[in-house]
Chain length 774, copies 2
């Protein structure tokens, strides 16, 4: 639903400013106060001003002079006491002037999580669930002066997980009987901070007797994608006998469908056919073409009673079997083939490059359209075409999907289930059904929607759900009924997909400790999570860690609160033992940040490029994770909160270029005298042919010395096909400076150039970072 | 629906014998004729008598003096011409005498496959699908003399598979746009013979104005299984103001629930609670306790207007993760864990032993309750507790489920999809939705129902369906909505389950050619198909193969028509090269039958026992296949058509005893001088403790010579736990007769004894079958 054309009324300090357009509709934003109380029947002792949308924690923090910012040092722990308290929001307003037949609705796009609503002391509504819009007709209850209260119930918990054991798996189990995002209960990059309150747009709305409640825009594309058969379902009040006009405008504003008529029932179906629709394409494969759909409702005299506008796009998306998988077969007894994990859009296989989207803010009420716009632009600039919206977090606000539509970013939308064995009980299932239905309705018409997923890592031992779990069967059933053309998967990873690893160096991995080693031996259909942790920038570290704790980092300090220690095992995400094993004793915070970020950059570059080298069998590479909801000291993210780009982001963006040269190297850490070698590739994810050409490979070391390693005259690359080149090698000289680079220079086409950094250990190495490398 | 208490009218040669009970209801069985015609608009040139239920092929065969029986020699090919012809059934009847408000219905429980119904020349109905009951109110169309016609459309085919290439995979693709069982189009044990016609009970029925149309009996068991909360949903016509009585009787006939009241709407819900319900248990785990549910409808004067009776049972069935699977985890990147494949009934894990149920008759109209009763008794006597009703065949008639209920045989019910990539088009999906809904309604209240499955081998390369296939998502959604408490799987095999192999000796298997070798190295969650082919008995062979073709068997003869050659590759199912490699040149049909059946017996014994030795991880062993729909020359079945027991049946029954001694041996074929060895086990699938005891192992050879190999004092076995014993061994003497036996004698408990036959090759071996072995 869009309200951009509606009349808006802002209520400031009980003052009603009435601004009337078309004499029909009003939105009134109200001023709220909030207070807390220990039991449901009590009233707050104090009332504080509340900023809406927001969270109860933020209002109390401001009113009671908590240490700020909440993300500094251990300030976040100030909120711990609130979980089991009740909060009440309160507002008062005068009864609006209503024309004949007009009604007043209380509308909220999100109240987190379980709540009851009272008007003038009478309970008029209750709901469990933060994703279902609240829409209550207040008209018959209104007095001249009215008091509206929203009572927020305590945080959902289960008794089995009542003991407060930070950073254990039992912790998040509190979420397994509710549709409250599990991340709030604590994650390896998110403190325990269970936010609550009104978190999305909330207002009074005055509606005409005749209005359009909902417009469902559905279409079927012909097999050859040349025709779109469109069905529009109009739902509303008092539509009978009213005139409508339906306009569909293309990207230039030209009208391509125009229909007028008279409505006659409660639900009206209007159909039309569009020939040669311009298709919506994901980033890197074409333009994300949008059309504008408009519906106008008129009275007998031709005056506009209501109108609805939205952008829509035409595309066909499928999840098909990875190329070559059907040819894989084993001996008897045969088990099934792997699950399909290859996205096909408008008839073309897509190599999906992207990232896992988590909360951009701990306090989801603070997320604005600008938050989304900036970050989705960064995703596009990184050459990404897919974001997996991870099931541990929220389903985003409407504007998230608008920006993904506009920027050609496909959305893999998970339902709010993650790393738990969610309940099979009817109470949970009924809340889930309500919330999932609301989520599907929020997202279903956006062309960016590519895949539904039941949630995160549900079929793994730490969650223990299966295909028999009723909540997943319910979600599959709802998605099938409401959006049969959109792929649905129960969870990620499915059979054949891979999650992890998350560090550069892991001695327990039997395929080799370095990311370069295990990744080269994998054969997954899709790498839907993988990460390399790194420190945040020095600027961020100084903002969140008190000066006296800054160096050396120690557990039990703000470093630990910000996930550098004990976040996921003892040494993560800082990974100090690895860093000192590779780079020697580290003497300064600057060196620490540099080495940590270098390992993230080179590790992620290897995984993205290797996943692409494994095409066509491999279909997808999504790192863990894109951003973070508060400033961490160390994390897997590419972007520090709120929007600070880590060096790895640029390396990933380069590794995701539609076409590039690539060198597959067996390890990062070399020794003096080793025969360094790598295999050359041209990687082509586009449906263009890439002309033949020549490239040169050069080693650069010790502050600018060069060795020419090889040249390769590569042939023409076919559309969507990589080209494999020769193995090139060089005997490593006795380096004085440990870090050295390999550069690929594509003659006359520097957009395809690539550069890699490696480390050499040896007797002659006196320092790690040579001049000219930085 | 049951009609046992209803008035029945048989129409014989147009003569109406009217027998009236309660003055209310009538069933009239009509006399039918049938004829064929080449186009839809033509009428048959000749009309033949038709036996209903039956098939059009059978009626033509009799009327036109085809060679009989249809299963002899190549007689089956006489039906080939019929596929693209139309058939019309015709009957005439007088308008029945009707009391006030009474209506006449045409009711059929099955018309195969696509048809139109005409009354007095007017088309009154059409349907695609053989599993949806036809129920048409004829009343307003009736004249004094009436003619009813059923027009049967040609066999469904797809244009891509129109070329007639017997025994190829494209063959069965004709079924992929219909809900016609795929097996009719030809399988490795089923000729191409696409049956059609009226295949289940069909009659006119006179109904009172007030009647009960349907009784839905649903219940929820409390977590501790001590309380059943029952909801009865009554649906019917003119129920308002009528009195009902509801009786639930336990197995002794005692009334445990009695409720009376007045009905008031079209759908009435009546609830009750039953404390300490006696639970329904599968064979080997307790009694399959049934209750009788009765509903009576009365008029104001207390006269019975209608009644419905059915048996019901209380049980809770789940598909849970195999024991130990959650402890299995690999390196990063981690994929999902395997799919759960362990049945839990009433809180106890069950080791599922059973078989794959196929068509018991090619002409499904010939299947009677007696067919089902005999075969289900055989399944029970084989110590089976589960039948997988394979998706290539039909959903069975109602009495199948009644017998499974009574005998404690759980049913894994597949929908009619097998080995095809079924269409995603809306036409197919709408027929599938109708048929699946009917199937679910037919089966859902039977306590024997344990698992729904979408169909056979759909996620394998020869089918190429996936979790994204719309037909499977539809089936999952329907089952979730209609029977949420019953497990649903998309197909078999799922990830971790195994299908195959199907022969004793397969050189292509990398784990070893003998079934003893590959099976010992497997770690599947469930062996849901496996088989060893063998010849049928000499009596059967003589019945189906002309004397002059009998020996030696040759391809291109009746042997091939009956699946001994070219049924599944060149040498199956006879497997002559294997038999001669093991047993030498075979000189008679008697020897051939003996060796073939011996290899089936010992091979299947090994697989069932080895699957049980792999418990608790392994949860299931279901051989391919239980029976066959016509007499084959060679097949994997345990029972030859119609009901002849193969020797392997007895060995399988022994291997499935709840408790037994077992010897795990590494191979079947030994050489003179080898150190023969095997590992001892006590296998216990029951929830009883097995007392400690002693057993002796003896080798018997050359017509009665014995060598004592070992003794074992085994300890007490815990409930549902096996006990592993020592490895015992003996140096093989120079045998004169190739076959030798190993016997396990459990002292004082001969029910647990086991015997195994092996083969030794060596210079001294002069003959294979020694005296005293047979």
């Amino acid at each position: 639903m869009r309200y951009s054309e509606k009349i808006i009324l802002l209520v400031v300090s009980q003052l009603l400013l009435s601004y009337v357009l078309m004499g029909q509709e009003k939105e009134q934003y109200l001023k709220w106060e909030v207070g807390y109380h220990q039991t449901e029947d009590l009233s707050p002792e104090k009332w504080f001003p509340s900023i809406i949308p927001g969270a109860v924690q933020l209002d109390v923090m401001k009113a009671e002079n908590y240490k700020q910012p909440y993300w500094y040092g251990n300030n976040v722990q100030q909120f711990d006491w609130m979980e089991d308290w009740y909060f009440t929001y309160k507002t008062t307003f005068d009864k609006p002037l209503l024309k004949h037949g007009q009604r007043v609705f209380f509308h909220s796009k999100g109240i987190d999580y379980q709540f009851k609503i009272f008007l003038n002391g009478n309970r008029i509504y209750e709901q469990e669930g933060m994703f279902t819009y609240v829409d209550i007709d207040l008209t018959s209850h209104l007095k001249e002066k009215n008091e509206l209260k929203v009572l927020i119930m305590p945080v959902p918990k289960i008794k089995e997980a009542s003991e407060y054991v930070p950073r254990t798996e039992t912790y998040r189990q509190n979420a397994r009987e509710s549709v409250k995002p599990a991340v709030s209960y604590g994650w390896d990059w998110h403190p325990r901070l269970v936010t609550r309150g009104i978190w999305d747009e909330t207002y009074l709305e005055i509606r005409n007797e005749s209005n359009i409640n909902n417009v469902d825009f559905t279409y079927r594309l012909s097999d050859d994608l040349k025709k779109a058969s469109i069905d529009l379902f109009l739902k509303g009040s008092h539509l009978n006998g009213k005139n409508y006009k339906w306009l569909l405008k293309d990207k230039t504003g030209s009208i391509v469908i125009e229909k007028e008529g008279v409505l006659n029932t409660k639900i009206n179906k209007i159909s039309a056919q569009l020939n040669n629709p311009e298709l919506w394409w994901p980033n890197g494969y074409g333009d994300p073409v949008l059309y504008e759909n408009e519906i106008f409702l008129y009275d007998e005299d031709g005056a506009v009673l209501d109108e609805k506008k939205k952008n829509i796009g035409f595309r066909r998306v499928r999840l098909i079997m990875n190329e070559g998988e059907w040819e894989r077969t084993g001996d008897f007894p045969k088990t099934r083939n792997r699950s399909p994990a290859s996205l096909e859009v408008n008839g073309l296989r897509i190599f999906a490059k992207g990232s896992n989207w988590v909360h951009p803010e701990i306090f989801v009420g603070l997320i604005t359209p600008e938050t989304y716009e900036k970050q989705i632009q960064l995703a596009k600039d990184a050459n990404f075409n897919l974001l997996r919206v991870w099931g541990g977090g929220i389903t985003n606000k409407e504007s998230f999907f608008d920006y993904c539509d506009k920027k050609g970013i496909m959305v893999w939308q998970e339902f709010p289930l993650a790393c738990n064995n969610y309940s099979n009980e009817s109470k949970y299932l009924s809340v889930l059904e309500q919330e999932a239905t609301s989520i599907i309705n929020r997202v279903k018409e956006h062309p960016c929607l590519a895949v539904w997923s039941g949630g995160n890592e549900l079929f793994n031992s730490w969650s223990r759900m299966t295909e028999q779990s009723l909540s997943l069967r319910l979600l599959n059933s709802l998605c099938y009924q409401m959006t049969p053309d959109i792929p649905f998967i129960y969870t990620s990873p499915l059979y054949g997909m891979g999650h992890g690893g998350y560090v550069f160096y892991d001695e327990s991995n039997s395929k080799g400790p370095e990311v370069f080693q295990w990744m080269a031996k994998e054969d997954k259909t899709a790498y839907t999570e993988f990460g390399i942790s790194s420190l945040s920038s020095l600027e961020t570290l100084k903002k969140i860690i008190p000066q006296d704790e800054l160096f050396p980092p120690k557990s039990g300090t703000s470093w630990e609160i910000h996930h550098a220690f004990e976040a996921w095992g003892k040494d993560s995400w800082l990974q100090l033992p690895f860093l000192e094993k590779y780079f020697g004793k580290i003497e300064s915070i600057e060196e620490l940040v540099y080495y940590s970020q270098l390992s993230q950059s080179e590790g992620l570059k290897f995984i993205y490029e290797e996943a692409r080298r494994q095409k066509p069998y491999c279909s997808m590479a999504l790192n863990w994770c894109f951003q973070e909801p508060w400033p961490t000291a160390a994390n897997n993210s590419l972007i520090n909160w709120p929007n600070e780009i880590k060096p790895a982001y640029y390396e990933v963006a380069n590794a995701c270029r539609p076409v590039l040269s690539s060198l597959k190297v067996s390890k990062f850490l070399w020794s003096e005298g080793d025969e360094f070698s790598g295999e050359l590739f041209i990687l082509n994810d586009t449906y263009n042919s890439i002309p033949a050409g020549k490239l040169k490979v050069t080693m650069i070391y010790d502050g600018g010395k060069k060795i020419s390693i090889a040249e390769w005259d590569y042939g023409k690359c076919k559309p969507f096909e990589n080209q494999r080149g020769p193995i090139v090698s060089v005997k490593l000289p006795a380096l004085k400076k440990g870090l050295f680079k390999i550069e690929i220079d594509v003659i006359g086409n520097s957009n395809l150039n690539s550069t890699y950094t490696f480390l050499c250990q040896g007797e002659n190495v006196k320092e790690i970072i040579p001049e000219g490398i930085n």
